[in-house]
Amino acid sequence: MIQDSATWRGSRWRMGVLAVVLSGMLGAATIAAAQGGPAMAAKSAAGSQIEIKEHKYSPATLTVPVGATVTWINHDDDVHTVTSSAQAFTSRGIDTDETFTYRFTKAGTYVYFCTLHPLMTATIVVK
């Protein structure tokens, strides 16, 4: 990273670098979405949905491929969250019949819990 500070020339350079990086990321994201399209639709119909009911996430462990999208739906009379214990992601409060969706772009094991009822825990395995 350029350590240059307040000179006008330095900031122009950094903005230029930033612009290149951003457009690169956008490009990559577009490609990924295009590739994921049809395959993902089949997966989400099959089993990338988790139900929150009676203070439990069901299924408690779900395995999905990299790039998969998981949707949680809350069927409890109470608000819940879906919060990664490694702080990788968090929903806001999910009300009754509301959903939260997250796309897993990196492989790994994600333990998550509800910040209102922390004894509610579950796991997503992405591989």
Partner: protein
């Protein structure tokens, strides 16, 4: 119709002020009781109170005596099946508080002021409580008040952006408000944390052991039912600093029902909610909002009056349901 439950207010064996050879002090204490229009009768070790005649509008307790109200789990913003009108039941609770004679010195709210930090909920509660005519309200948060932002909104609004735990003195009674709903971890339980426990140690250090102590916090400070998170993991460390005191009253919320426990000089009381009940420990699959028949709802919601009588070790706890 008021359904009041009364609890033992005095140490076993010391109920009776009229022991043989009543001294002058005992006589005046007796007269003080009569002056408030309350007759206390002891039966089977349990004190119960009944009013003498109509209460006067300007009834004042004898100097030193006072009462306060604990209100808990108002959950404003909740719109589930268990109660579609949490604001309405809050207003009924406020009407109960307004009717208390003499008026309480202050209110203590033991948390879950809002339901899931719903927008406007804090405002609704603070505004509504002004209707009680009681000017001072002390708050501690429940997990619903802090879960979305690590407590930022709550602490900036109710604690001047500081840590949020607090203590104050009233008529010689020392009150301590603790927070045990921050820093929740996956699979974890309510905790007080090192910093708060150290603060507590220093806070009570200077107090004589005869000072009555009241502790208020959202999650129970004893192990009501750990499987449902109805416990504070490190409460034991805090309570160690309070063991030497002759009278410690712990007031909690969170479980939306009344339970109590006595451990030496410490009595623990959990409170009803004004919004919805929850199942008894282990009685339902989840410890969430419990729907009851519509005509039963007001009978399981309520508020609590706590009375301090100078010279009595134990505070008197009077719970009232909304119907």
């Amino acid at each position: 119709m008021t359904d009041e439950t009364r609890h033992e207010a005095d140490r076993q064996g010391k109920n009776d002020q009229h022991e043989g050879g009543m001294d002058r002090r005992g006589f005046f204490e007796c007269m003080a009781w009569m002056g408030t229009g309350l007759v206390w009768t002891a039966s089977g070790g349990i004190l119960s109170a009944s009013r003498l005649g109509p209460a006067s509008a300007q009834e004042r307790p004898p100097a030193g005596n006072f009462s306060f109200v604990q209100i808990s789990d108002t959950h404003i913003g909740f719109k589930g099946e268990a109660n579609k009108d949490a604001i309405g039941t809050l207003q009924q609770a406020i009407a109960r508080i307004k009717a208390l004679q003499p008026a309480p010195a202050f209110l203590i709210h033991t948390g879950d002021i809002s339901h899931a930090q719903k927008a406007g909920a804090f405002d609704t509660v603070t505004e509504a409580l002004k209707d009680t005519g009681v000017s001072q309200v002390f708050y501690v948060p429940g997990e619903n008040d802090v879960f979305a932002d690590g407590g930022k909104e709550y602490l900036s609004r109710f604690a001047g952006g500081r840590a949020g735990w607090q203590s104050f003195d009233y008529n010689g009674v020392h009150f301590i408000g603790l927070i045990n709903v921050l820093n929740y971890k996956a699979g974890g339980l309510g905790t007080l944390g090192h910093e708060q426990i150290e603060w507590l140690e220093k806070d009570v250090e200077r107090l004589a052991s005869s000072t009555p102590i009241v502790v208020f916090a959202h999650v129970p400070l004893w192990a009501v039912y750990p499987k449902w998170g109805w416990v504070t993991e490190d409460a034991g460390q805090a309570l160690d600093y309070l063991k030497r005191f002759g009278s410690v009253t712990v007031l909690n919320g969170h479980i939306h029902q009344i339970m109590q426990k006595v451990e030496g000089n410490i009595t623990f009381h959990t409170a009803m909610s004004t919004a919805f009940p929850q199942p008894a420990p282990g009685a339902g699959p989840p410890p969430g909002p419990l729907k009851v028949a519509a005509e039963q709802l007001r009978g399981v919601l309520g508020v609590r009056e706590v009375k301090y009588i100078q010279g009595k070790d134990r505070l008197a706890i009077v719970d009232s349901t909304l119907a």
